[in-house]
Amino acid sequence: MDDRDDGGSRAVRISSEEVERFCDFLYRRTGLSLSEGKRYFIDRRLEERIAATGSPSFRAYFSLLRADADHEIEFLINSFTVNETYFYREDHQLRCMTSNLLGTIVRQRPSGSTIRIWSIPCSTGEEPYSIALWLMENWPQVDNHNIEIVGSDIDTRALTAAANGIYGDRALMRLSRVIVDRYFKPIADGRHEIDEGLRNSIEFTRANVIDPKDMARYRDFDLIFCRNVLIYFDDASRRQAAENLYDCLRPGGYICLGHSESMSRISPLFSVCRFPDAIVYQKPEADHG
């Protein structure tokens, strides 16, 4: 490894061997599977963390990281997670939720029963808020059950943003004017603050989807949205995540994945359910584990 002077701004060059060691460390700690092919993505974020910690070299930074000095692992995870999303993303799954899934879930339940919905990873909150908004606007049974929505993410910075509930125009691009006027308040710099009642209706927590110990705190969900995260994992981590999510579901509960993801390729635990608006995966009713 060598350091270089780059037009006055200090940048650190990282060797292939060092990237490999780093990726191995990141994988063991988070399940995120990155390789040399993502070199640009890795370098940008590593350079940012090396500069932020004032480390003179990659080697110095890596020592600091392994010792988790000043919670550096958390900062690193935050910089490596992708938090680009928007409201009503893949809304065909939200439509499926109110047209098919919830009807099946509540059929065997008395009025007033609790329905638990989980958004993991929830990033900066757009997904769990979208679920709440969609239910308010599209499910006539919304007051007939006690709906609990939990949003979880490994990235604590994203969770703080989610709890603050402030968004730019881009995040709101799929929402109608009526919905924006009804549930958002314009604030400075063209941003929008979400309704306080909506903010209070979501519980935000930190969770790592591939960590069985972390996930053991979450049980009895009827519906899980776990979209566009498994694509970042390798096969072993995907299987671990699928098993963890399985344990978090009630028997008969459903899981929605991202459009390019298929549970059938990851784990045989779930049944495939084809509805008019979406394909979702179900934990069999007979399993009471």
Binding site: S111, M136, V142, N144, N146
Partner: protein
Amino acid sequence: MVEVDAAAKARILVVDDSSLVRLYYRSTLERAGFEVEQSINGIEAMERVLSQPIDLVIVDINMPRMDGLTFLRALRCGPSDISSLPALVVSTESEMRDIAEARASGANFYLVKPVAEAELVRHVCVLTGVSL
């Protein structure tokens, strides 16, 4: 969407332990021109009616710490300025004996959940004397 005369705003207190239910009722009633306050149980609701003018309470039955019927009985035994406050009970309990018990506790009207937006607004208008 149902809209009433915004000039005739009445203040409604929604008492329900589910945040999403409170949000649904608040959103519906605010769009109809009402002002809405919220409480999560009977204890908070009692504090609220004692501290500010309220024109109608919408009360759920099953709530932690103080349920809706206990709240209504306490309300009806309260100071004269709050004891005659109109109360609409909205609950998932749908048996005749639930309705009878709510009436005996002081409910003016009883709706079984789920309640559609228009139905909620219509009953709130009747109970507050606001014309549609």
